[in-house]
């Protein structure tokens, strides 16, 4: 997140070789990001080949399929296709809820860590990151074991007499939320921690001296100061949640497609419709870019 602010002053010593030093970054970004993105863009405008693959002829069929419903047999009067819009909306809502969830827990956690004595902070951060040494897939499957009907959570609650019948969490939206929350919490905690750590607490004292209540200090002084960290955390949680398919598939039962699984199905499933998968990816990418641009604009306005 420091990257947003710095980058203006390059030491004179390095000025002559600056471009050479940046070369690895440019190569990485170019080969592994820009080039594949360009491929996706091109593929989304090609004609699909039966059973996967593309024919090199320009076509808008993929975007047409996304927007218009022409019936089961493809010859009905076109009307608006809600199937894919609904899948996108569902994913958007899901990602938004997951982000709010993470913010609700992540902000107090980050604040708590940043206000510990400096010597113990690294220990707390360490504890936050420990679970993330394990592969995401394994963590998601473990979550499934925990919350299943005959799993430890239900056994414990039943044993303590808190509930009479097992909670049905698995294969519900709540399970997906739990999975997303658990997967992406550190992405919220770490940037907020970085902001709170740099926050000058004498500002809070000054506020208190001027008779501001605790709530007012939080709302008028602390939150505005650490806003960049909060926004960065929200973006870091929201964006991967939007395209997630592990949690929806494994914990949600895969009954309904999320954006991620819809796109995956176009390449890995029977459909084998690569242009449509590419078009859906481009639409998703545009949505994400829109969110990021919105953020950049609001940042720029504040600095004026």
């Amino acid at each position: 997140m420091a990257a947003f602010g710095s980058g203006s002053t390059v030491s004179r010593t390095f000025a002559p070789v600056r471009n050479w030093l940046l070369m690895p970054t440019w190569l990485t970004v170019g080969i592994f990001m820009l080039l594949p993105l360009l491929l996706i863009l091109v593929y989304s405008f090609l004609t699909k080949e039966f059973r996967g693959g593309v024919i090199w002829e320009f076509s808008l069929a993929a975007y047409d399929q996304f927007i218009f419903d022409r019936g089961l047999f493809g010859d009905a009067e076109p009307s608006i296709e809600w199937t894919y819009i609904n899948i996108f909306l569902r994913s958007l809502v899901q990602a938004t809820v997951a982000t709010l969830f993470c913010l609700l827990i992540g902000f107090p956690t980050a604040y708590f860590i940043a206000t510990r004595p400096p010597s113990t902070r690294s220990l707390w951060l360490f504890l936050i990151t420990v679970p993330y040494w394990v592969n995401l897939l394994i963590r998601t499957v473990s979550m499934k074991f925990l919350i299943r009907e005959s799993g430890p959570l239900n056994q414990a609650l039943l044993g303590l007499g808190i509930i009479d019948t097992p909670l049905e969490i698995i294969n519900t939206n709540l399970a997906v939320q739990l999975g997303l929350f658990y997967s992406y919490l550190p992405f919220m905690v770490l940037p907020i921690y970085a902001s709170v750590e740099r926050y000058n607490f004498s500002l809070s004292e000054a506020g208190a001296d001027l008779y501001a209540g605790k709530w007012t200090i939080l709302r008028r002084i602390i939150l505005p100061s650490i806003k960049p960290g909060i926004i960065a955390g929200c973006i870091l949680v929201f964006v991967p949640s939007l395209g997630a398919f592990l949690a929806p598939d494994l914990l949600g039962g895969a009954k309904t497609f999320m954006i991620g699984s819809l796109i995956e199905e176009q390449f890995k499933g029977n459909a084998g419709n690569w242009p449509f998968g590419s078009a859906a990816s481009m639409i998703l990418l545009s949505l994400v870019l829109f969110v990021l641009l919105f953020y950049a604009r609001s940042q720029a306005r504040e600095q004026l």
Partner: protein, 345 residues
């Protein structure tokens, strides 16, 4: 996927530059998950001094997509199901096995030589065959299970506790059998009925998943679920009180086959491996592990005795014959794809 194919081709380019020196003594398999016992691969490695590597996939369609996305040329052998052999041959992804190249070709069971998906076995050899229907947890439901109503119109005990395979071919075939309509039907009323049936049955299903299909039955997450017969036998062996059904409306029968891929980097070793898998003792090891049936004469001598009598391999006398999944033309397949997406919207 596209990103993957690009990086793969770059890596492949790098690999090609160095592979000539080490090409001998390697074999690259692309195989289903949880199917091939490691001991058998080790045995082949030792016998022929060949280093075997194996990647796995979880559906025939995933195999096809991966090969079309640029993996062709990096594997020697794959193990597609019946209909996928036909599709892959039509797509030009398979190499032809020469006359007399396979020393053990005579070991194939006669019924599996002239199969509709590869007449005369030009590209493939029989591997394992079995059936797909569904299993029911007998602790939960004690009534008659030999009907597709269990999936599409389930009794109250099972409703909402059913796992479906995440496989279009198998789900749509079971639904077609339930309705009594032919596969790849072009009749609009029949296709509409198929769509309606899936839309109305969805409420009874808890989840879709193939690689989890056995585990959810064993753990009790699902009380009924579509399963391959071998998976059901394994689930039963792991302690689940589940019974495999042979519905009177019909069920899916399938055969997996070892195919020789086009541009195989180690074609000689691939032929050796195919011959190796046609030896009764070797193919029986797969049968003993995966609990399916081999398509090789004499394999029965080496398989576990209880396999022959296990209920998952022995349909009752009054059970109908199973049906292979058919390869539909493009127009019908596109309607099938629509029905499948609408089911998951």
């Amino acid at each position: 996927m596209i990103r993957k194919s690009l990086t793969t081709s770059i890596l492949l380019g790098l690999a090609l530059a160095t592979s000539n020196a080490q090409a001998e003594g390697k074999l690259s398999l692309y195989h289903w998950f949880e199917y091939m016992p490691q001991e058998l691969l080790d045995k082949f490695s030792e016998e022929f001094d060949v280093e075997v590597t194996m990647d796995t996939y979880d559906s025939n369609e995933a195999l096809l997509a991966s090969l079309k996305a640029g993996k062709l040329g990096s594997y020697d052998l794959a193990v597609p199901g019946d209909y996928m052999v036909e599709i892959m041959a039509n797509e030009g992804l398979l190499d032809t096995i020469g006359e007399g190249e396979l020393a053990n070709a005579g070991n194939m069971e006669a019924q599996w030589v002239d199969v509709p998906f590869d007449q005369g076995r030009k590209h493939s050899i029989p591997y394992q065959w079995g059936s797909t229907s569904f299993s029911v947890n007998r602790d939960v439901f004690k009534g008659d299970i030999n009907t597709t109503d269990i999936l599409f119109n389930p009794p109250a005990e099972l409703a909402g506790k059913i796992n479906m395979l995440d496989s279009q071919g198998e789900v749509l075939l079971m639904a077609s059998l339930h309705l009594g309509i032919p596969q790849c039907s072009t009749d609009r009323d029949q296709l509409k009925a198929l769509d309606d049936l899936l839309q109305s049955s969805k409420q009874h299903w808890a989840s879709f998943g193939s690689d989890i299909a056995k585990d959810v039955m064993v753990s009790g997450d699902a009380a009924a679920g579509m399963l391959y017969n071998g998976f059901s036998a394994k689930g039963r062996a792991e302690g689940a009180n589940i019974e495999y059904a042979y519905p009177k409306q019909g069920y899916v029968v399938w055969m997996d086959n070892v195919v020789l891929l086009k541009d195989a980097p180690n074609r000689d070793n691939a032929i050796k491996f195919m011959d190796f898998m046609l030896v009764p003792e070797n193919i029986a090891a797969v049968t003993n592990y995966a609990r399916y049936a081999a398509g090789v004469t004499g394999a029965g001598e080496f398989t576990d005795p209880e396999l022959a009598s296990q209920p998952e391999s022995a349909p009752p006398a009054d059970a109908p014959a199973g049906a292979f999944i058919a390869v539909c033309d493009q127009a019908t397949q596109e309607v099938y794809d629509q029905i499948w997406t609408r089911l998951r919207k």
